[in-house]
């Protein structure tokens, strides 16, 4: 090669290498953030006035008042603002619901009584309009739970960000969901009529678990002893095995005090690890719940008491009473369209006796603990995933504005169907 040509190629090559290095560096730069000069509320540690959080490659790498900000960091000025962990909604049907009256858009409730093998994970529509709306108030994770029948299926914990359900999954399965047989009617007379039907249904549920256990034991026996044969593969019973072994919690939806007591007996008899969901009359049976050491996912606080004697504020006071007895309480909305109201349910409980710090924990660290993901989520600690929100006040207050939401260490787009229509019609003249 001629010398001039060689030099050109060589220089060109160098430029290419430098360019790609530079591109690599800007990729690195894109992953480093620093939120500076803000009031940081880690939840599991004291509040830091005028602090900084540094994020790199999706994780929190530094938190404190005197923190070195890497040169390549994208800086978010938190002056006058607050940094909280992003919130967690402990029961929703996000991705399984679009419009309530349009059956084609509904996927949360399978038909049939026992569906342990039904999983929400791959049915989640990442494009659901409710997802961006929910995360714009600062909710980054949500449990998506199946309902319907008696054994509804298996739930999944998702991040509210991702190009498809696979990218959204944080943990799947999270629990085996059971809708515990209980009184539906409000009137005493109808309740008595139902009691027989309910006892029968509870026995049916027990029998199903017993059958599943036999299937599992037979399978284990056959694995050890070649002379024994396992039963033909039964997908439903296969799905029961992790719960029977105590590896997968059963998440039991139960409301009335009588049913809660029955449900406690049930999980103890069946030797299951349990979380209870709903529990609006939990305040009537605190001692039993405490003894059984069962954490509670409260459903929407916006209910009325079964009997006027319970007091108009029973659903509101419930959380405070459970908390005082030492029971771990987390909050959920149970839906999709108003999943963004999660923080206000927690605040309502705080208005009626739950300490404010507990209300905040009930939408951050406690859900992470209950779902077994607290190593990575639920608070602002070095090493955890950077799911954070930057606000102008407490996220449980209705009037608070959420300025930034970071999921996996990256700010997410806060626009959604509502803001888009708002902007469109604001501009109309």
């Amino acid at each position: 090669m001629k010398p001039k040509a060689f030099i050109s190629v060589f220089l060109g090559g160098l430029l290419l290498i430098a360019g790609s290095l530079g591109a690599g560096e800007s990729l690195q730069k894109a992953e480093v953030y620093a939120i500076t000069n803000a009031t940081i509320v880690p939840v599991t540690a004291p509040i830091i006035e005028k602090g900084t959080v540094v994020i790199s490659r999706g994780r929190i790498i530094a938190v404190g008042a005197e923190v070195e900000i890497p040169q390549e960091a994208n800086v978010i000025d938190g002056n006058g603002l607050y940094v909280y962990p992003a919130l967690i909604n402990s029961s929703t049907i996000l991705g399984l619901y679009e419009i309530g009256s349009v059956r084609a858009t509904l996927d949360s409730s399978e038909t049939g009584k026992f569906n342990p093998d039904v999983r929400v994970a791959a049915a989640i529509n990442h494009e659901s309009v409710h997802i961006p709306i929910t995360r714009s108030v600062g909710i980054a994770l949500a449990l998506v739970a199946p309902r319907g029948g008696t054994i509804s299926g298996q739930s999944a914990l998702i991040r509210l960000e991702g190009w498809n359900w696979s990218e959204m999954l944080v943990k799947s399965p999270v629990g085996l969901h059971i809708s515990f047989p209980q009184v539906r009617a409000r009137r005493r007379a109808a309740e008595e009529e139902n009691e027989e039907a309910i006892s029968k249904a509870i026995q049916e549920l027990k029998d199903y678990f017993t059958e599943a256990r036999h299937y599992m034991e037979r399978k284990e026996g056959a694995a050890k002893d070649a002379s024994l044969t396992a039963a033909p593969v039964n997908m439903k019973f296969e799905a029961m095995i992790p719960a029977l072994k105590g590896e997968l919690p059963v998440i039991v939806s139960v409301t009335t005090s009588e049913a809660i007591k029955e449900a406690i007996k049930f999980v103890e008899e069946m030797k299951l690890k349990a979380i209870f969901h709903g529990v609006s009359e939990g305040w009537k049976v605190v001692d039993e719940l405490k003894k059984a050491d069962i954490p509670v996912i409260l459903s929407s606080l916006y209910g009325t008491p079964r009997e006027w004697k319970d007091g108009y504020d029973a659903p509101y006071r419930n959380a405070g009473i459970l908390c005082q007895a030492g029971i771990k309480v987390v909050f959920s909305t149970g839906d999709a369209a108003l999943a963004n109201n999660l923080p206000y349910h927690a605040a309502k409980a705080a208005a009626f006796g739950l300490p404010k710090e507990e209300a905040l924990k009930g939408v951050t660290i406690y859900p992470a603990q209950i779902f077994g993901v607290d190593k990575d989520y639920g608070s602002i600690e070095v090493g955890k995933v950077a799911n954070l929100i930057v606000t102008n006040g407490c996220p449980l207050e209705i009037t608070t504005q959420v300025r930034h939401v970071l999921i996996d260490g990256k700010p997410v787009n806060l626009s959604n169907k509502h803001t888009e229509l708002y902007e469109k019609y604001r501009k109309k003249k």
């Binding site: 004697k309 109201n341 509502h418």
Partner: protein, 440 residues
């Protein structure tokens, strides 16, 4: 004279009959002094820190500082608390006995809620626990023209007659859209009820108002002939059309349950063509799309804070609806349409601050003064002003805070909800129940 005692007796009785109504009327309400609260009047006096409100015989006599109560009058210490006008819900179905829809026909303007008021509905008490003192209770939205509403004061414990707010103007309820079309019910066998489309809803409205016009003409002709000394046969009374005529004559207000922009515009046009005014569009979730037309017509809007997505026609609803309508100059209120949600309208009002940046005062108006205007009763309720009804709600902190709690609700000077007293009473009841259990 034998007759004299009878004549004197007659005069006395007549005087009594003449004077009795005013006597009964002055026993309108009670006396009360609320002291030292943060009084958010939403009226001329603005917000008064450490303010007092003196109520005499159910009406606000004076607002100020350092007021003294006449002897024997109950004093409520509102130190550290917020005092706002009693909350008003323009759209509920509470206190109604039996079904709220005469669903056999799509036009039932002749049926009336006033005939089926149920004062023992516990939702009335629940409303009080949320500071709600007045509500407009009505038919559902099954029919194009559902019937006549009633405004009630949530006087828990009172009789049906006592609940009715006599001053409120008469109102007729209309509905448009999916509920009227029965879209979300399973298909019944046989001929479905007309109308089943939005086209049919409009056609039915036009048909009814045209009938009403013809009906009015018949009565006009009859009256002319009578005046001219002739002896004509009167036309047949039609109770259904009577109300529509009153609406066209401006004697009755029209309230329209609606969702979609197209049906809102349709209704405005029908109203303009047949010469009646729509006083309020309810739910009106797509109102923001036609805000200018609504403002031009002069209708109030009563919407949800953020409820949406449950029906197709609710799928374009946005929580910024109230802000956009307010910007266009529409009188906007927030309603609950629920015996449960009526307990937390103050939280819904707070959402007007979050979505669209309404001021706190304007947000509070959406569940008080604006609602009063919507129902045509703002002369007497909706703000804390001298001369208005003594309807107040007392909160332990800013009513727009998610952490707030309603402590007391007062209607015409009488305390109808007192949280502290309520808790003491419930505690007593629980202890008595416990003792009974132990005895067993």
């Amino acid at each position: 004279m034998k007759r004299l005692p009878i004549i004197i007796g007659g005069i006395l009785v007549s005087l009594l009959i003449l004077l009795l109504p005013p006597l009964v009327h002055t026993a309108y309400g009670q006396d009360l002094l609320v002291k030292n609260g943060k009084v958010v009047t939403l009226g001329k006096k603005g917000t008064i820190e450490g303010g007092d409100v003196l109520i005499e015989k159910g009406r606000i006599k004076k607002i100020g500082k350092g007021l003294r109560a006449p002897e024997g009058v109950r004093v409520i210490d509102a130190s550290g608390m917020w005092v706002i006008p009693g909350i008003i819900d323009t759209h509920t179905h509470i206190g109604v006995e039996g079904g709220v829809n005469e669903g056999s026909n799509s036009v039932t303007s002749e049926v009336r809620i006033i005939d089926v008021i149920w004062p023992e509905d516990i939702s009335i008490f629940y409303a009080l626990t949320g500071g709600c003192t007045t509500c407009n209770t009505m038919h559902g939205s099954a029919n194009t023209i559902g019937g006549q509403n009633v405004v009630i004061k949530n006087k828990w414990g009172a009789s049906a007659d006592e609940l009715i707010y006599q001053r409120a103007p008469k109102e007729l309820k209309f509905a448009l859209g999916e509920n009227v079309k029965q879209s979300n019910f399973p298909r019944v066998s046989g001929q479905p009820r007309y109308p089943q489309t939005r086209m049919g809803v409009e056609a039915l409205l036009r048909q009814k108002f045209t009938e009403a016009r013809a009906y009015v003409k018949k009565w006009d002709d009859y009256n002319k002939q009578k005046k001219a000394g002739k002896n004509p046969i009167p036309p047949r009374r039609d109770l259904q059309l009577d109300v529509l005529v009153e609406l066209m004559q401006g004697k009755v207000r029209a309230q329209v349950h609606c969702y979609r922009a197209d049906e809102i515009l349709m209704m405005l046009k029908v109203a303009e063509e047949y010469g009646f005014k729509i006083s309020s569009l309810e739910h009106v979730l797509e109102g923001y799309k036609v805000a200018d037309a609504i403002a031009a017509h002069g209708a109030s809007c009563s919407t949800f804070a953020d409820s949406w997505g449950y029906k197709m026609e609710a799928f374009d609803a946005i929580p910024y609806n109230s802000a956009l309508l307010a910007e266009a100059g529409v009188n906007i209120t927030i309603n609950s349409d629920s015996g449960e949600r009526i307990r937390r309208l103050f939280q819904d009002a707070a959402k007007c601050v979050k979505y669209g940046g309404m001021s706190e005062e304007d947000a509070l108006k959406t569940v008080t003064l604006n609602s009063a205007k919507c129902l045509g009763i703002d002369k007497w309720v909706g703000s804390i002003e001298e001369g208005k009804d003594g309807d107040l709600a007392i909160f332990n902190t800013n009513p727009l805070s998610a952490y707030t709690r309603c402590e007391m609700t007062i209607i015409e000077g009488k305390v109808y909800f007192d949280r502290q007293a309520y808790q003491e009473e419930m505690e007593k009841l629980r202890e008595e129940a416990k003792k009974k259990e132990e005895k067993k």
